[in-house]
């Protein structure tokens, strides 16, 4: 790349072309603007602008009771809303000191890993689309649909799920939900294998992605990379293992790592993570089935001050009515304190820094959005490469505008 020669100074007018890639370019899969300085098709310089869908979530959250902030977290990384929802519930539970039963933890793990699969699936198939292979994308959509149907069965919505509550789930998983999960577990491995066969040893795909947008381990760490993008660079940092939450310590899984941190390695790491997620879901489902009797009906923690009581109790019991009213009207005070809690979201460490002054709403809430932090490396990653490589690099970093802008 570096041996490319520019025309001599002042030979014919301006030597480079300025190209606006975005904010609404179809290939950027979101609202980003990149102003590229091109010499032929090679990128000499770029500068990126973000903030086109900034919605001031941190400000809005300062006036909302905790449970009303869950819908805001949906709209961070909207490809895997359940992960964000769970991250937020776990943060609240840490601040409030709510102890979660094991069965709820396992159910949460199932949901979180399903949503990790759906996120990685989109990211990897989009890398395929951007390198000219549309088939994979179209083919796997059907199986993302299966995941969305499971969400729908549990919480009623599909994309922006607002799944679960502080303390557990809004209702127990129905038998239909488990049937759909079984169907997914049965059908998906074959599909993923086929999807892999389409890409991993495909000559064209390899030529397009190997050595494209690489980043080394130290540089990636310095740039604040986390998640699959960091692991592709060779660092085995995973919040699920380093700071286990939601009983992740009960599961056996491998953290796949890459070597060069290029688009191909990122693709492989995400693929392998999907296999690991599948295995975690199987283990969790088995553990869930092992609960018998009354334990098998547990789907929320015992935290009456924060968890909405059942409707039939609200109509018949005084205490439940009071709690219901206080929660819905946002009249529950939370303990004062500051807490940082993070989960391994699909793009990396999704952190919540919550400062409470003992009032009913957070005093300050900050989202550590992995996308926002690793996007700063983008200018460096695409420098000296071709324009079409920049597109693949962008999709293989899995940049989600909603997460970046908050």
């Amino acid at each position: 790349m570096s041996e490319h020669i520019l025309l001599p100074e002042g030979s014919i007018g301006k030597q480079t072309t300025t190209l606006n890639l975005g904010p609404t370019h179809p290939a950027t899969h979101g609202v980003f603007q990149n102003i590229l300085e091109l010499d032929g098709e090679r990128i000499m310089k770029s500068s990126s602008t973000i903030g086109y869908i900034h919605r001031a979530f941190e400000k809005i959250a300062e006036r909302r009771p905790l449970y009303q902030i869950t819908p805001l977290t949906d709209r961070l990384n909207y490809c895997s809303s359940p992960l964000n929802n769970m991250g937020w519930h776990i943060t609240c539970e840490k601040l409030l000191g709510v102890k979660i039963p094991k069965r709820v933890d396992y159910l949460r793990v199932i949901i979180m890993e399903l949503s990790r699969i759906s996120d990685h699936l989109i990211c990897n198939s989009i890398v395929g689309v951007d390198s000219g292979a549309y088939t994979g994308f179209l083919y796997v959509m059907q199986y993302r649909e299966l995941i969305y149907e499971i969400y729908e069965e549990i919480c009623g919505s599909r994309l922006t799920t607002t799944i679960g509550r502080i303390g557990g789930f809004e209702r127990n998983f129905t038998p239909a939900a488990f049937q759909k999960l079984e169907k997914f577990l049965k059908e998906y491995p074959g599909v993923l294998k086929e999807f892999e066969n389409l890409f991993t040893r495909n000559r064209i795909f390899m030529d397009r992605t190997i050595g494209c947008g690489p980043i080394g381990a130290e540089r990636a760490l310095n740039y604040g990379f986390t998640g699959p993008n960091l692991r592709a660079a060779g660092v085995d940092y995973d919040v699920r293992v380093h700071t286990p939450y939601s009983s992740y310590e009960d599961f056996d899984f491998i953290i796949p790592v890459g070597k060069t941190g290029d688009c191909y390695d990122r693709f492989l790491v995400r693929n392998e993570e999907m296999w690991q997620s599948l295995s975690i879901i199987k283990q969790a489902y088995q553990k869930v089935q092992e609960f018998k009797g009354a334990e098998a009906e547990v789907f929320h923690a015992d935290a009456p001050a924060y968890y909405l009581p059942e409707k039939k109790d609200v109509y018949t019991k005084m205490e439940a009515l009071i709690y219901h009213f206080k929660i819905v009207m946002g009249e529950t005070d939370m303990p004062a304190g500051e807490v940082y809690s993070s989960i391994e979201a699909a793009n990396g460490e999704l952190g919540f820094y919550l400062v409470s002054d003992g009032g009913r709403t957070p005093y300050r809430l900050h989202f550590r959005r992995p996308c926002f932090i690793y996007y700063q490396a983008f200018e460096e990653l695409i420098k000296g490469g071709m324009l079409s490589d920049a597109i693949i690099t962008m999709s293989s970093l899995n940049l989600i505008a909603g997460e970046m802008d908050a």
Binding site: G51, N222, V339, Y353, F372, I373
Partner: protein, 167 residues
């Protein structure tokens, strides 16, 4: 094995009587650093053989209007990935002269995070290569996450806004 006591001891040896407010909310070591010292502390935490806090997890600010002369707190979250220990420290700055040294020379990841903090709180990071607004429009002339800007009253009726069914 690195733990909070060792970190605290190392820091107090290096910076005697300068670090205050030692605390451990929810297990994370938290302390306050005087504003002129923030880079020295960061550098020490980064370089020191046993500490090696080389990953900047998060950087943001909090506004406390009641703390006169130190209204803005810049909060750093650092992570030692080898021993898996996290710490948090705060730097307080006067809202009329919110100067804090930039950490961009140590952590490239601080670039966007400091721009975001500047954008919302107006913290002036000295030495930042490109300190301008990042999420808000460039023309904005205030810092919206400061507490003096309350959110709009949702039940107000004085607004002429037929598009949204009000007024």
């Amino acid at each position: 094995m690195l733990n909070n006591d060792i970190i605290r001891q190392k820091l107090t040896e290096k910076f005697p009587d300068q670090l205050t407010d030692w605390n451990e909310p929810y297990g994370m070591l938290t302390f306050t650093v005087p504003a002129p010292l923030n880079l020295k502390v960061l550098q020490f935490l980064y370089d020191e053989e046993e500490l090696k806090f080389q990953f900047l997890t998060d950087l943001q600010a909090v506004h406390y209007p009641d703390r006169k002369g130190e209204e803005l707190a810049v909060v750093y979250h650092l992570h030692n990935l080898i021993d898996n220990v996290r710490i948090r420290f705060k730097v307080f700055a006067d809202i009329d002269k919110p100067d804090v040294f930039s950490a961009t020379a140590l952590y490239r990841s601080a670039n966007h995070m400091e721009r975001e903090t500047y954008d919302f709180y107006g913290v002036n990071f000295i030495g930042h290569p490109n300190l301008k607004r990042i999420l808000n429009v460039d023309e904005m002339d205030y810092f919206p996450l400061r507490k003096e800007f309350p959110l709009e009253d949702q039940s107000r009726i004085d607004k002429d806004d037929e598009m949204f069914g009000r007024g």
